[in-house]
């Protein structure tokens, strides 16, 4: 690709005054890509208080940190962020842009791409550089995770979103040097077309699904809302959280935020217990990182047994009550 675009840009995210883990993970993979390209690694941070995070970002791999302290950017707004990212990219001409596969990245990356005319692959699981041609090679699941496609972009910037926890952050290195540079552009508030007027937080009681060491997940086979309380009981006994397939969420048996899979949450607990769910790839792609998968399903042909470590073929209704009872005994509760 002949062009004058250079350097890798990470689109950073900040929460409660701190750089979020996914951004540090992106700096790690971004560092590798930049080194392979022989280019520099840039980071962009938006909102009040981001200036003082620049030095820290440099210790995690960035060469140049661009920040805007503009108040209007404190909360994510699709229109403003798209505008700021677009005008920055037109000025700085990065060859690669990395986003988290997060609420922000999933909205911003496609819009920025639409405006700037690059090439975007979302939900990448692996990135590398073709050193000869100097282009980015992206691998991503397609067909709900049934296949993995290798994609290249014929346009710059080459863009990718990456799921949290795909890469490890670098060790903090205090001797790294870099620049922290303010973006001076004034933001015109009339750029806001879609305005956020309210935010409804879904309260979770107990352990957060993404952080749980044990996840008990149910699907269509659980049959109703009431039965899910049994799964909750099991999860509580194990100090874990419950999750669900899309079917169970669609049916309203559990809140939508418990959906695990390609279009839901990605979890990687120590133990994943899959009950009455078939193990469609679109679901499995949300829990493949689990260390140990236990499956209970009455169909011996169910795909879940292709990924589980321990399985029982049978009706969960006959297994769960004695399982809960036995766990109580063993745990002395």
């Amino acid at each position: 690709m002949e062009n004058n675009h250079r350097n890798v840009l990470v689109f950073g995210e900040v929460l409660m005054g701190k750089i979020v883990p996914i951004t540090l993970e992106l700096l790690a993979i971004g560092r590798r890509l930049a080194d392979d390209l022989g280019e520099e690694l840039y980071l962009m941070l938006l909102g009040e208080g981001t200036g003082r995070l620049g030095e820290e970002a440099i210790t995690f791999g960035a060469d140049q940190v661009y920040f805007s302290e503009e108040k209007l950017l404190n909360q994510y707004n699709s229109d403003l962020y798209t505008h700021v990212a677009d005008s920055f990219c037109r000025r700085v001409l990065p060859s690669v842009i990395l986003f988290g596969h997060t609420d922000i990245g999933c909205d911003l990356a496609p819009r920025l791409n639409g405006r700037i005319g690059g090439g975007l692959s979302i939900d990448c699981m692996d990135l590398s550089i073709d050193k000869e041609k100097k282009h980015l090679i992206m691998r991503r699941p397609v067909f709900g995770g049934n296949a993995i496609a290798t994609v290249i972009s014929n346009r710059v910037p080459q863009m990718a979103t990456i799921r949290p926890k795909t890469f490890q952050p670098l060790e903090k290195n205090l001797s790294r040097q870099g620049d922290v540079i303010p973006l001076e552009e004034k933001i015109d508030p009339s750029l806001i077309k879609a305005r956020v007027v309210n935010y409804i937080k879904e309260e979770v009681e107990g352990v957060k699904l993404e952080e749980a060491e044990v996840v008990v997940s149910g699907g269509r086979g659980i049959e109703d809302k009431k039965n899910f309380t049994l799964l909750k009981e099991l999860a509580d006994l194990l100090g874990g959280a419950i999750g669900a397939t899309r079917v169970a969420c669609d049916e309203g048996w559990v809140p939508a935020h418990l959906q695990i899979g390609q279009s839901g949450k990605v979890v990687s607990p120590k133990i994943y217990i899959a009950i009455g769910l078939s193990g469609a790839m679109a679901h499995i792609s949300g829990c493949l990182g689990s260390k140990y998968i236990v499956a209970i399903n009455k169909d011996s042909e169910a795909n879940i047994f292709n990924v589980a470590h321990l399985g029982f073929v049978g009706d969960w209704k006959e297994v769960l009550p004695p399982l809960i009872e036995r766990l109580r005994e063993l745990k002395g509760k």
Binding site: P110, G114, G119, I148, N154, V197, K201, L238, V319
Partner: protein, 263 residues
């Protein structure tokens, strides 16, 4: 209110993984024999969202799809759910997996349809799942874009949209015309009535070719693709699952002991 819904026909994503086959040479997916293609999941929900608006307000729904001649089926499905009209965009020159081409063709078709208040897309197609045609289309139409909606209603200033975020929901207000991408949290799509199915079967579905919608042919040529798929593999899944024999109770005890030993 004039609503346009972009719908795609895809290979049925609910086939068991063992039936999923690819040709790594051509990087194509081989459709499973005897399984008819379906409307992409989120597009069906986008239609549902459109129909709910039509239930409440005066609205006209037009569905469009780019696809083979078989894809008129998804337009019929849209009409059976409640769409008023639909067009099939079918031309060998349209064949592409490139999101920009897809959005460009859709934008030209929308231009021909005329004034609109709302364009709805799915958040992601159930096959290649590029997850960006809606946003690119919004930019091409130069209208505001709201992504991952699960509820849409009319207010004084335009539309009020509830969108899904990882730990809750955001409520936004957006003026019309605009483009909204729809997420599965909209809820289950309605089942078409027998009468509407009949109506959809009889309805003529106009087919538009490149020349019908004023497409600049050079933009559809190969070198214009923004992204290119250079490899396709089915990930290997090693099955080493240890199956517990015995009664459910014995299995329960075995599982309990393993779990406790691991925690």
């Amino acid at each position: 209110m004039n609503i346009i819904v972009c719908v795609k026909q895809v290979q049925d994503p609910e086939i068991p993984p063992s039936k999923f086959k690819i040709d790594p040479e051509t990087k194509q997916v081989i459709p499973p024999a005897g399984v008819p293609p379906v409307i992409s999941v989120y597009d069906e929900r986008a239609l549902e969202a459109a129909c709910r608006l039509k239930d409440k307000y005066k609205a006209k729904i037009v569905a469009i799809t780019i696809g083979t001649d078989k894809a008129s089926e998804v337009i019929r499905h849209a009409i059976s759910m409640g769409a008023d009209d639909g067009y099939l965009l079918c031309d060998p020159a349209f064949e592409s997996k490139d999101s920009f081409k897809t959005a460009y063709i859709l934008s030209k078709a929308i231009e021909k349809i005329g004034a609109f208040d709302l364009v709805l897309c799915g958040r992601q197609a159930a096959d290649w799942g590029a997850g960006q045609v809606g946003s690119i289309l919004g930019e091409m139409l130069t209208v505001p874009v709201v992504s991952f909606a699960c509820d849409i209603d009319v207010v004084d200033t335009g539309l009020r949209v509830k969108r899904v975020v990882s730990d809750g929901y955001e409520i936004l207000e957006v003026p019309m015309p605009c483009l909204i991408t729809v997420s599965s949290e909209v809820g289950l799509p309605r089942l078409p009535s027998g009468m509407r199915i009949m109506l959809a079967r009889k309805k003529p579905i106009p087919v538009w070719k490149a020349t019908d919608i004023n497409i600049e042919h050079s933009l559809l040529e190969k070198g214009h693709e923004h992204t290119e798929i250079i490899g396709l593999v089915v990930p290997e899944r090693k099955s080493e699952c240890e199956i517990i024999k015995g009664t459910p109770k014995e299995a329960a005890y075995e599982i309990a002991e393993r779990l406790v030993s691991m925690l």
